[in-house]
Subunit: 223 residues, 2 copies
């Protein structure tokens, strides 16, 4: 695979391509052109071809792209075939929800263990997986050497937990804590899920929409 520098915008579109191709596969479509894909995803055909061309030549002139072959290429680009392992830290509601309902396996990630501080949770099983005591985090992570840590602890503990995880050699943190982690430059890759940012953006767009509608209403009254 080529390893040229690819812009973040392109990276963020890759999972959307993957999802769409899965959908096409499921509905029995086995080939698609950039034109048709663009129509379905509200992207220009040019952009789609540019995006793919960052990674190789996956299409065929006069034909388009084979859906399942392209899907496989994108899965590979996203590292879905690398058998990443993950530990989940903090089995509160969100952590619990992820264990129960998020199909890590479907994205090529194996969830190998989970941790919590609450003594009544430690030792129980959730989704078939035993919950370990947070006190053993360092030891177990040293032992299992997971690639990824899914961080779901309360805000207050976020940075401490992150520090331990990084010292134990975790390479990526999937951060649900809504805290901007204070990570030494160039060590671990952090991917944040900031619920609040998303809700606030929605608030912005709602406000904008409402203002527009009111402006229009005021104008039509004024005529």
């Amino acid at each position: 695979m080529k390893r040229i520098k690819v812009s973040n915008n392109v990276i963020r579109r890759l999972p959307r391509y993957l999802q769409k191709l899965d959908e096409l596969n499921a509905s029995g479509v086995d080939r698609i052109s950039s034109g048709e894909l663009g129509r379905q995803m509200s992207l220009t055909p040019s952009q789609i071809r540019q995006d793919f061309s960052c990674f190789g030549e996956f299409g065929q002139q006069g034909y388009g792209y084979n859906v399942s072959a392209l899907r496989a290429e994108i899965a590979k680009i996203l590292g879905m075939d690398r058998n990443f392992t993950a530990v989940l830290v903090g089995v509160g509601n969100i952590g619990h929800a992820l264990i129960d309902h998020f199909s890590f396996k479907h994205y090529g990630v194996e969830l190998v263990s989970a941790f919590d501080v609450k003594k009544d949770v430690v030792g129980t099983k959730i989704g078939g997986m035993e919950i370990y005591d947070m006190e053993n985090l360092r030891a177990v992570v040293d032992e299992l050497k997971p690639d990824i840590a899914v961080l779901c602890v309360p805000r207050f503990y976020a940075n401490d937990a992150a520090k331990t995880l990084i010292e134990a050699g975790v390479r990526g943190i999937w951060n649900f804590t809504n805290v901007e982690l204070d990570i030494p430059e160039g060590t671990t890759i952090v991917e944040n899920i900031y619920f609040s940012d998303s809700l606030l953006a929605l608030g912005y767009y709602l406000s904008e929409r409402i203002d527009e509608m009111e402006a229009k209403a005021a104008k039509s009254r004024g005529v």
Copy 2:
């Protein structure tokens, strides 16, 4: 407030400014320059001033910005003072986690009711809020006229629920279902939280990092 067309990139930075300003406020900082803010947020001072100038003139030459005044302006831009109301649909793990741990109030949104299909949940209270039967969704939403619906139902029901909500006049959907909702153009504003996209992006960056490290190792062996 100005209502010029503001790019999505700018909108997505606003919640980050808000968070940083809250942090500065909490640590007793009451004024800051675009230079210092840029240092702390890894943005250029130019970008920060450009961003703010989309909405007005919030600073003062030779002084910088008053932290709490600027915070208030951004909160307003994000609609945090509009008293938006929300209903939550689907009290599984994620829905439950949001009710228990996400401070809607802190972002200016009031969660007014929640719905589920499971008869053993309906009628109980979660976080002090009664859970209504999904069968009454349309009726209750017609009655309460919430601005926002927080969609946490299983994938399969996502589009049906969205349809009902839109018909009942909901203006925005905060979508946790990982399904790209099929919404008539220009009606409701949808803000998606796609967990999987985020994990896959992490997978990409991890893969890239690993490849780089291996390339480096191979090179040093070759020397």
